[in-house]
Symmetry: C2
Subunit: 390 residues, 2 copies
């Protein structure tokens, strides 16, 4: 009676609950989704903060426009042009309080209860949680090694009622899968053909350590599309600065929703990030993150190949922060989680990334663990799995 109906089906994030259990110092945790703290450019951010406050202190501390700090929006638009050859104007960019906020705003502005929403299977849990508050009818479509299963996608679209599609085509969370070029082109064509709003999230795109760059799906579509991005993985998540790119009419509605949500994102953190981007060699900084995560990913994948029993498979991501393990049918990752925790090693069971009952998969994070922790943790985990399978 006290709470709204929309809260009835929503639970606290399963991952956040798991993180509480796995926070004991003796646990080697591959459960979280954190960037490596040693990758944060602490001194450069401190310098940027000092410069911003010395040179434009009152503006950095005052209320500012909902749309965001204009030079930062320009920077984002220019990067789309330079990196992907996508024409984006600064006017189409809306700064958000992390890209998580973009999910909430999109749900609010576009989704009525019962609207069809295509999500990946498995899908990003933070998006599912955020959208679920707006009561959509989720239409999960299977993710294959090459990206979304386009035959299944077309069947779902043909069935009607799909308003939007939420996709993470590069180094997806939780699976680490990247859509290949052909799949991107097909998805773009289908979205346009059926008039579904394409919501393309790309938090990890800059973190490619293998293979060649593939343009965003948005580059191939003629239909309505929104791009999401964030500085959380290339600068730091604690600043809470992300963005979305949307055509003007949509952007206007999203600005209205953001006014109501928090007026604007911190003027200070927006300016700190802009200053950091302007005064530092961003490519060198990103390269150091790529190199770190690439080495950690290699070590983890090698450990799986060498030590996990036959019948257990994993994705081999070309970037990002996560990989995805599949156990033989009928083996419960949730039971394995309990056993693993008893041996002081942790992961996230796959169940919450699905809208239906699937229990033989789990997610491993490789961005936040040192190489020795990966060695030791994967040893423990391999032993658990062997025991669990026998």
């Amino acid at each position: 009676m006290l709470f709204s109906q929309r809260m009835a089906g929503v639970r606290r994030s399963y991952i956040r609950e798991i993180l509480k259990v796995t926070a004991r110092p003796e646990v080697i945790s591959f459960a979280g989704g954190l960037p490596h703290p040693e990758s944060f450019p602490v001194q450069a951010v401190a310098k940027a903060a000092a410069d911003v406050l010395a040179e434009s202190g009152p503006d950095a501390l005052q209320y500012s426009t909902t749309e965001g700090f204009a030079p930062l929006r320009e920077w984002i638009a220019a990067r789309y042009r330079e990196r992907h050859g996508i024409e984006v104007s600064a006017d189409e960019v809306l700064i958000t309080t992390g890209s998580q906020q973009a999910l909430d705003l999109i749900g609010k502005v576009f989704l009525d209860p019962g609207d069809g929403l295509v999500v990946e299977r498995p899908g990003y849990i933070g998006a599912i949680q955020s959208f679920s508050l707006y009561g959509p009818d989720f239409r999960p479509v299977t993710l294959t090694e090459k990206g979304l299963d386009c035959t299944e996608l077309e069947r779902v679209l043909k069935a009607g009622g799909v308003k939007a599609m939420y996709l993470v085509p590069s180094f997806q969370n939780p699976s680490g899968i990247t859509y290949d070029l052909e799949t991107r082109q097909k998805v773009a064509g289908l979205a346009a053909e059926y008039g579904a709003l394409l919501v393309e999230d790309n938090p990890y795109g800059e973190l490619r350590f293998k293979g060649g760059a593939i343009p965003p799906i948005r580059k191939f579509t003629t239909g309505p599309a929104i791009l999401l991005g964030t500085f959380s993985k290339i600068v730091a998540p604690g600043l809470r600065v992300g963005w979305l790119v949307a055509p003007t009419e949509m952007r206007d509605k999203l600005v209205t929703a953001k006014q109501a949500a928090d007026l604007h994102t911190s003027s200070l953190t927006q300016r700190i990030i802009h200053r950091f981007l302007t005064d530092n060699d961003l490519e060198a900084h990103i390269e150091s993150i790529r190199s770190r995560y690439g080495a950690q990913r290699d070590r983890m994948v090698a450990a799986i190949h060498e030590r996990f029993p036959a019948g257990v498979s994993c994705t081999e991501p070309e970037g990002g922060m996560f990989l995805w393990v599949t156990l033989p049918e009928g083996i419960s990752a949730r039971k394995l989680f309990e056993a693993a925790l008893a041996r002081n090693v942790a992961f996230v069971p796959g169940r919450p990334f699905y809208l239906e009952e699937v229990d033989n998969t789990f997610r491993l994070n490789f961005s936040n663990a040192s190489l020795p922790a990966i060695d030791e943790g994967m040893d423990r985990l391999a032993a658990c799995i062997r025991e669990h399978l026998s």
Copy 2:
């Protein structure tokens, strides 16, 4: 078809549209709601930022808990105990991205379409906009010089269906009115009697420059209550750090909604504020703001008494940032606004603060104007009103 039904009735903030028109440098504007930039403790914030990044840089840049930075929550709880004798535990405090976000979270967690929501008449436009996305049935209750009209309030509550009441009892925006002690006690009693959730917002409470302190309504109620607060007016709004205080079960649901909304408020700005509060003489800082705003308020009220024609009245706030002018019946503040803008002086017409057609009031902001600007601007405005009335 593209946008959700909830967006149909929502427009961009009227005030933000007005601010664009009044931003020309030759306009003396009393329209905004900005703190005075000279009141920002720029150097102390810069010192706090440098210390935080030097001493706990990786933590300040990493993801953190949705609930907020624990020492900051402790500080807030302690201040309620010390200033108001209200027992608040840190566990009940949720840090929000400005107190605007608290409004959105409360709407999301408590309001179903059609739920009765008591708001003040005139009321805070940012709250009306934010709540309206959740489709409540607004039940405006008239604000008198002593606070909410309790006879009217009881009639509204008796009629049934009221889920919650949103009130700003100290130096209200837009009116500058402060509820007296008796009204607070009566409102507390009525809220508890009818089981309405009391949402008590207090952005300006620390900015009292006349009269004695009066405790929050929450102190007198035995019913469900949520307190909102912000550092925007005593430190700086550009940091986007506010809070809410709610009993545990409610706080839990609000945390879930916040996870979905933006994961957490910037770790860096939370720590900067906490460091600022710990290392500086906050009382002296607030006293300097009070003294500035008090002088500006006095000058503005004196100008109204001396120069505005008979039949025009105003509130005489004991704190805060706004006062409220009432024109004789039938005189349009929106027409006056056009005439005033032609003379390069601006205010916000009262219309958007009401849910019905009322056009003979307007809001003046005194926090953001220098004394010479107040002298000159009030001269221009007085001339406009005299012309307009004749």
